[in-house]
């Protein structure tokens, strides 16, 4: 089964709901190593995305993701705006005018999102950033798709790997963003960006089942 614009919007709404639900947790994680604004910023951004989608549903999945991208870029301050925005924008661009997404398209979109985040933030796996969640998620998604999984299975694989990836940032020294100023003192904390990435992908997967 394919994912049309309406399904993609539903999945985004689930992501927004999850961010709202975990706002306090994300704020606490960011307070430990950053400027304590990640939860607040991301929640404000997703709330604006949902409001924009309420105002009118675009026709294609790509167009829905583009609305999400431009809204997140405008509404989320801090690094998360450009990073999440770039992720959605690259995915949207890659998906083009397709009216439905199959498993291959979902995997391709995730790969484009990762490439965008890496290009924008210049982080690598191991720097304790959202790349630590997104990179394994993309690999797992591509494996699931190659194994014949449907879009829901691809997202489920991505979500599982993203969660593990986010957990893997706990012992890492942050090397990018505000947390990098803490150096070794960032060890022992999960990266807020990796954590939110895993939460959002988890919500996407849940909603796509």
């Amino acid at each position: 089964m394919g994912c049309n614009a309406e399904r993609v919007a539903e999945v985004l709404r689930a992501g927004g709901a999850t961010v709202a639900e975990h706002k306090a947790e994300l704020i606490d994680l960011d307070r430990a190593i950053g400027d304590a604004d990640h939860g607040e910023n991301l929640d404000r951004g997703f709330a604006a995305v949902l409001a924009a989608l309420d105002g009118g549903l675009p026709e294609t999945p790509g167009a829905v993701l583009k609305v999400a991208a431009t809204t997140l870029i405008s509404k989320v301050g801090g690094a998360a705006g450009p990073l999440y925005g770039t992720a959605f924008l690259r995915a949207a661009t890659t998906l083009g005018d397709a009216s439905e997404l199959d498993a291959a398209a979902v995997a391709t979109g995730l790969r484009a999102a990762l490439d965008g985040v890496v290009a924008r933030g210049k982080a690598e796996v191991g720097d304790a950033t959202m790349v630590d969640a997104l990179a394994p998620a993309v690999e797992a998604a591509e494996r699931a798709q190659a194994d014949g999984g449907d879009p829901a299975a691809v997202l489920a694989a991505a979500a599982g790997a993203a969660k593990e990836g986010a957990d893997s940032t706990v012992p890492l020294t942050a090397r990018k963003g505000r947390a990098s100023y803490l150096g070794e003192r960032s060890v022992g904390h999960a990266d807020p960006g990796a954590t939110s990435t895993a939460l959002v992908l988890g919500a996407f997967a849940e909603a796509a089942r």
């Binding site: 604004d37 405008s74 301050g77 801090g78 690094a79 705006g81 450009p82 924008r120 963003g177 505000r178």
Partner: protein, 249 residues
């Protein structure tokens, strides 16, 4: 109007920081448009894409813009804004110390530098003055050095190439501090001459405000101005005249 000059954009997490950097930079370069883009619309700390895009769009007309930023996510926001321009090449984002870079860039823009020259000036602002030789250059003015004799007056110097030299004893209150250094650099920016100012063993590029400032030449210090190139004489004459006017203090 500033259509001929490169404009600057200061992207910061704080509105007050952006405003302050723009204020200081603009003081050094009265004809350059320095546009601050800091903080969130509600006054909070962060970078606002819309505000940055508006600032970059406005500044990137005419001779284009050079964009400076404070912290990582401001860089990302600036990159997205520049990529969103109809002509992304019209703006250059530079990795430079914010305050020093903005001032150096402003002075270079005031002197008519193009985007890449202005960007280079910003990047170079982190540098320290070049030390003339390996001798201990630590004691700046104190060791009044070799030729502490002559007071001023240009004399044709060395080689076959056109050259000029003058010794100037600084009589103004603040010495080669920010404003006088900017005036000096600006006064010769358009000349075809390589102009150096030295104090003791420390040597500075006279077209670079920061290089001049890092001499920390104070009132009473005697600096040596040397110039080579087609307009070397003019350069030394202008610097001498400026010093004789006490840098218009």
């Amino acid at each position: 109007m500033s259509g001929e000059l490169v404009g600057l954009v200061v992207v910061s997490h704080s509105g007050r920081l952006a405003d302050g950097v723009a204020e200081v930079a603009a003081q050094m370069a009265p004809d350059v448009t320095v546009t601050p883009a800091g903080g969130l619309p509600d006054g909070g700390v962060g970078t606002d894409f819309e505000a940055v895009l508006a600032a970059v769009t406005e500044a990137a007309t005419g001779a284009g813009a050079v964009v400076l930023y404070d912290l990582g996510s401001a860089q990302m926001t600036a990159e997205m804004a520049v990529e969103s321009l109809p002509e992304p090449d019209a703006a250059v984002i530079v990795d430079a110390p914010l305050v020093e870079g903005a001032i150096a860039a402003a002075v270079s823009a005031q002197g008519g530098g193009d985007r890449s020259a202005v960007a280079d000036a910003a990047r170079a602002a982190a540098g320290r003055p070049e030390v003339a030789d390996t001798a201990d250059a630590a004691g700046s003015g104190a060791a009044a050095s070799s030729g502490a004799a002559a007071d001023s007056g240009a004399a044709a110097a060395s080689d076959g190439a056109a050259g000029a030299r003058a010794e100037i004893t600084l009589a103004n209150e603040v010495g080669l501090h920010a404003r006088p250094a900017a005036l000096l650099a600006r006064s010769i920016a358009d000349l075809d001459a390589d102009v150096r100012v030295s104090l003791g063993a420390t040597d500075a590029d006279a077209k670079s405000v920061f290089s001049l400032m890092s001499l920390t030449a104070r009132k009473g210090d005697t600096v040596v101005v040397t110039a080579t190139g087609a307009q070397a004489e003019d350069a030394v004459a202008r610097v001498t005249a400026l010093a004789e006017r006490n840098f218009d203090e």
